[in-house]
């Protein structure tokens, strides 16, 4: 198949571009031996990958990529919540992934008693209320405490939400209801897929557009930017810190609720631990894109979603699908070492 040649060419092109960049920026990589070794490794991996691809059909590749994009979009919706909160409070909101899981559970319980058209808005509303309450009860009292205490409080909330979910569901995996439109199948590029897979990236782009408009054009958006720039000064300037922080939690929770509807339509079972891993991955996406930056978080999330699905889709004889979660964290560590501020983040300066 043509793909093999194309992928090897792509590896060569990337290395060419990389060496080109480094010629003008010699500080990045001083060791040409290291670079050529990297190139050879990259080439070898590409050859193996394409070898594996040749055995599969183009349709398979497309379906893997499509589902990667959709998983990425769902991570993006969670990642925005992380990046907004971190940008303003400098807090890794460990409970955010569990809020996402609780939203999924509410989706199950609400659709059991009312029509879907009513239950989805209600899920979003109640999730927003949950996020708002968590902030008021667990984070607000610790506003002046050391950062570590707030993070511990977040871990405590996450523990509480998981245990409550275990209590309410009885620890059994719950089946997510099929939403008529989203779960129906459609044929794209010769592969059958669900509507949700196609719809997710579009919806994400729309929501991100609206959110950037909110942040760039409105008064509350301006306040959010000010607070993330300098907490103390904006407080002195008369910005109502608490309402700004509540707003970020409201936006984050609403997006997480939307994300949960999309995510769990694809993954039929919800367990109390279902939120932890997507939550951590979304956080990694936020770090990857540069914490505090919304486009960064979205791009990072898409990248992680696609890579993860590719790893899961590799031939089963390689036995690498167990690394689909580990890959995300390896990426995190590489990013933290090479470019701690992320793709679009601003370099933080510590004043002594």
């Amino acid at each position: 198949m043509k793909v093999s040649g194309a992928a090897v060419c792509a590896a060569d092109a990337v290395m060419l571009w990389y060496s080109h960049v480094n010629r003008y920026n010699p500080g990045n990589s001083r060791n040409p031996v290291w670079r050529s070794v990297l190139h050879d490794c990259g080439r070898a991996v590409c050859m193996r990958l394409t070898h594996a691809l040749e055995k599969n059909s183009m349709e398979y590749v497309i379906s893997v990529l499509l589902s990667g994009i959709s998983v990425g979009g769902q991570y993006a919706l969670i990642a925005i919540g992380y990046t907004l909160v971190y940008g303003i409070l400098r807090l890794i909101n460990f409970a955010h992934g569990d809020v996402f899981m609780v939203a999924g559970l509410m989706g199950i319980y609400f659709t059991a008693v009312m029509p879907i058209t009513l239950s989805i808005p209600l899920v979003i509303l109640v999730t927003v209320a949950l996020g708002f309450t968590i902030e008021r009860v667990a984070y607000k009292p610790l506003r002046d405490a050391p950062r570590m205490s707030v993070m511990i409080s977040a871990i405590g909330v996450s523990y509480l939400l998981q245990n409550s979910a275990t209590y309410i569901t009885g620890g059994q995996p719950m089946t997510y209801p099929t939403i008529p439109f989203l779960a129906s199948t459609i044929k794209v590029f010769g592969t059958h897929t669900k509507w949700v897979v196609i719809l997710t990236p579009l919806l994400v782009l729309l929501l991100v557009f609206l959110l950037t408009q909110l942040i760039d054009r409105t008064k509350i958006g301006m306040a959010m930017r000010a607070v993330s720039k300098d907490f103390e000064t904006s407080r002195l300037m008369g910005i109502k810190i608490n309402s700004v922080i509540s707003m970020t939690f409201i936006i984050g929770s609403a997006l997480a609720a939307v994300g949960s509807v999309l995510f769990f339509t694809n993954y039929p079972a919800i367990t109390p631990m279902a939120g932890a891993m997507p939550g951590l991955k979304a956080f990694v996406a936020a770090v990857f894109g540069g914490i505090g930056s919304i486009p960064g978080a979205v791009i990072g999330a898409f990248l992680i979603g696609i890579c993860e699905t590719i790893i899961k889709g590799l031939p089963s004889s390689w036995d690498v699908s167990v690394f689909s979660d580990a890959f995300t964290f390896a990426l995190l560590i590489v990013i933290l070492i090479l470019k701690p501020q992320g793709l679009f983040g601003e370099a933080a300066t510590d004043k002594v």
Partner: protein
């Protein structure tokens, strides 16, 4: 301090063997009683909690990699001690293990496989395996520490958490099956009950299964206390209080952070080995981030920066979750016919997490804050010792008093 430890070990041994020599002891002192589960698990967890406190509370490095290092320790111990004749059975999916022998078998070849020789071989093999478990965890901590210790507070937390997840994935990889048994559990290695002294027919003569974890963790905790009271310990605390000032005082930040990280991981690895002995198996999927969170919450409840606090909190936590609050998980109907609402499976953990949230929010200093428990005979020393064995003694005493309460409760019920 050594005196208190000896006293504690003596009490544990007597408690454990009371039912053996005096017939008609109450249920709570029988070997199957939850008291001994609590004591064993508490001893294991207190070592891990103290090692986490060394890092988070005394050096100010917020690390969430504890479960990963415990996993390394547990697997090292398990791989090194599964007896040669058990290997084919344990690794049946992979046609036997890559490692054909075990430490116990190696020592057995020297000291003999019968009677006292067998006992010596087992003790030596197990002790060496536990220490090696710590060493493997420490080695990996060194490798991991090189890149991640440059990171600041919450980035460090998330990077170490990520490393724990990566390690977990590697140990579940089927390709490593001949060593790690893939995603299946390793079992069949010596556990705490292997230390009970038996006669030739397998009848238990003298129980040591609670004594062993207490011995290992009190020695380790004692070593940590000595470290904290040394000049290194003071350097750790100064780094926690102010990095820039301590650097100005000539303390090498990278060296001391690395030292604290490696030592803490060493003891976590040993704790992991003890944990494998306690649950009698090693399986990667047990060591999730939830385990780290649990240990972190124990440390917070005990007081960040207090060794005795960590130990007391561990025993309280374990006793509540394994014993005292168990009744919350089953339905209860009072004698008047009133069915107590809410009680059903899982309610215990909800109550538990609410209590923890209350402590985190309103009593953020925990049980002990950064103070230590003082007992007569120790506070008079010139070097202010901060002791954990006192904490353990207190926890043990508490456990004993509760033993009495429990027995009276049972009479009422």
């Amino acid at each position: 301090m050594a005196g208190y430890i000896c006293l504690l070990l003596l009490i544990v041994t007597i408690l454990e063997n009371l039912s053996m020599f005096i017939p008609g002891m109450p249920q709570v002192l029988q070997p199957t009683s939850p008291l001994f589960t609590v004591l064993k698990k508490g001893a294991v967890y207190s070592l891990v909690a103290v090692s986490m406190n060394l890092l988070n509370g005394f050096t100010g490095l917020f690390s969430l990699g504890q479960a990963g290092f415990m996993l390394l320790g547990a697997y090292t111990y398990a791989i090194l001690t599964v007896p040669a004749k058990m290997k084919d059975q344990v690794y049946y999916l992979f046609g036997g293990s890559l490692l054909k022998t075990s430490l116990v078998d190696i020592f057995g070849a020297v000291f003999g496989t019968e009677g006292v020789g067998r006992a010596i071989a087992m003790v030596l093999g197990v002790v060496l395996a536990i220490v090696l478990a710590g060493c493997v965890a420490a080695f990996f901590a060194y490798l991991i520490g090189l890149p991640v210790l440059r990171l600041k507070s919450d980035y460090l937390a998330i990077a170490t958490l990520g490393f724990a997840e990566i390690i977990r994935a590697i140990f579940q990889w089927q390709r490593l099956g001949p060593i790690t048994n893939g995603a299946n559990m390793i079992k069949g290695f010596p556990t705490f009950t292997s230390f009970n002294i038996t006669d030739s027919s397998g009848q238990v003569l003298f129980r040591l299964s609670t004594f062993v974890p207490f011995l290992v963790s009190s020695i380790c905790i004692l070593l940590i206390i000595l470290l904290i009271n040394s000049s290194y310990g003071r350097a750790f605390k100064s780094i926690r209080d102010d990095e820039i000032a301590s650097e100005a005082m000539g303390i090498s930040l990278s060296k001391h952070k690395m030292l604290a990280f490696v030592i803490s991981s060493f003891f976590s690895g040993m704790g992991g080995a003890l944990f494998a002995m306690y649950v009698a198996n090693a399986q990667a999927k047990a060591f999730t981030s939830v385990m780290t969170y649990e240990i972190l919450l124990i440390v917070v409840v005990g007081g960040i920066g207090s060794i005795s606090g960590s130990v007391i909190a561990t025993f309280l936590y374990v006793a509540c979750s394994e014993w005292w609050l168990r009744f919350l998980d089953s339905e209860m109907v009072l004698s008047s016919g009133f069915k107590v609402p809410l009680l059903r499976n899982g309610f215990r953990m909800v109550v538990f997490s609410v209590v923890i949230m209350v402590i985190v929010l309103f009593f953020s200093r925990g049980i002990m804050g950064d103070r230590e428990l003082r007992l007569p005979g120790i506070s008079a020393r010139p070097v202010r010792p901060k002791s954990a064995d006192k904490g353990k003694a207190a926890a043990n005493a508490a456990a004993q008093t509760v033993t009495e309460e429990k027995s009276s409760d049972e009479q009422e019920g």
